[in-house]
Amino acid sequence: MARAATTADAFNAIAEARRRQILDLLATGERDVTDLVAALELAQPLVSKHLRVLREVGLVEVREDGRHRRYRLNAASLKPVSDWLRNYERLWSARLDRLEDVLQELKETEPER
């Protein structure tokens, strides 16, 4: 079952390296746009555009704090991405567990190489 090929899902949002950088920064705590502009050394409109994409798919949430808008990571929305990867990991874990079984058997049958 392939995932739906929409343009507005978490998979697409994290496909962009700058957006992953923003998520990394937000993973350490709330930031406002000024913080992100300084950390990324990008023009503010570009940072705002990336933030908009991340908000649309729910990866990032915003909170009004006086005159500031504080952005934070919504880690729960990354779960579909991690589930997707974990499936592939399960396949390889099972495969390499069986390889380990074969190795242990080989070690027993020929202890002195």
Binding site: W84, Y88, L103
Partner: protein, 162 residues
């Protein structure tokens, strides 16, 4: 004290947009790991990943030599991979090209390294897929295999209920 035989699960990471990295440690010397990886009778015993059986394991272990592995899942889904060996350093390194035969226009390059320490072997398998699209399709094929697994299990349960 003996070394633990269980060495932990495989870990999959995505170093770049076009790569998949698999790492795992084994409680065995690297020459043995290399042998199990490149000997057809041994490949048949682990490649299946608990999902059906390996029906073809062909290995021509020479630079430029071909390889082909075919696995059939319990519900009859055939999964075939093939390619050729590019670099062979027994016990240390193996590089091969790889295609998933359902996506023949998307070749990958796989590099396996083995590092032995105190009788244990660290394995890395770095897959280079050329683009994020192909890389992601490969990750999805893992998901498909997982789904196949779940579906065939459901089917068995459903059949036994009647």
């Amino acid at each position: 004290m003996t070394a633990p035989t269980s060495s932990g699960a495989a870990v999959v990471t995505l170093p770049t947009d076009s790569q998949i990295l698999i790492t795992r440690e084994f409680a065995a010397p690297s020459q043995l790991v290399f042998r199990a990886w490149t000997t057809p009778d041994l490949i048949r015993r682990w490649w299946h990943a608990n999902r059906g059986e390996v029906t073809v394991a062909e290995v021509d272990l020479r630079v430029g030599g071909r390889w082909r592995f075919v696995q059939v899942t319990p519900d009859g889904f055939e999964v075939a991979f093939s390619g050729e060996y590019r670099e062979i350093v027994p016990g240390q390194r193996l590089v091969w090209s790889e295609i998933y035969e359902r996506m023949p226009d998307a070749p990958a390059l796989q590099t396996m390294t083995l590092t032995e320490r105190d009788g244990r072997t660290g394995m890395t398998i770095l897959g280079e897929y050329g683009s994020r699209q192909v890389r992601d399709a490969v990750l999805e094929s893992g998901m498909e295999a997982g789904m196949q697994d779940a579906l065939s299990l459901l089917e068995r349960v459903a059949v036994s209920e009647h």
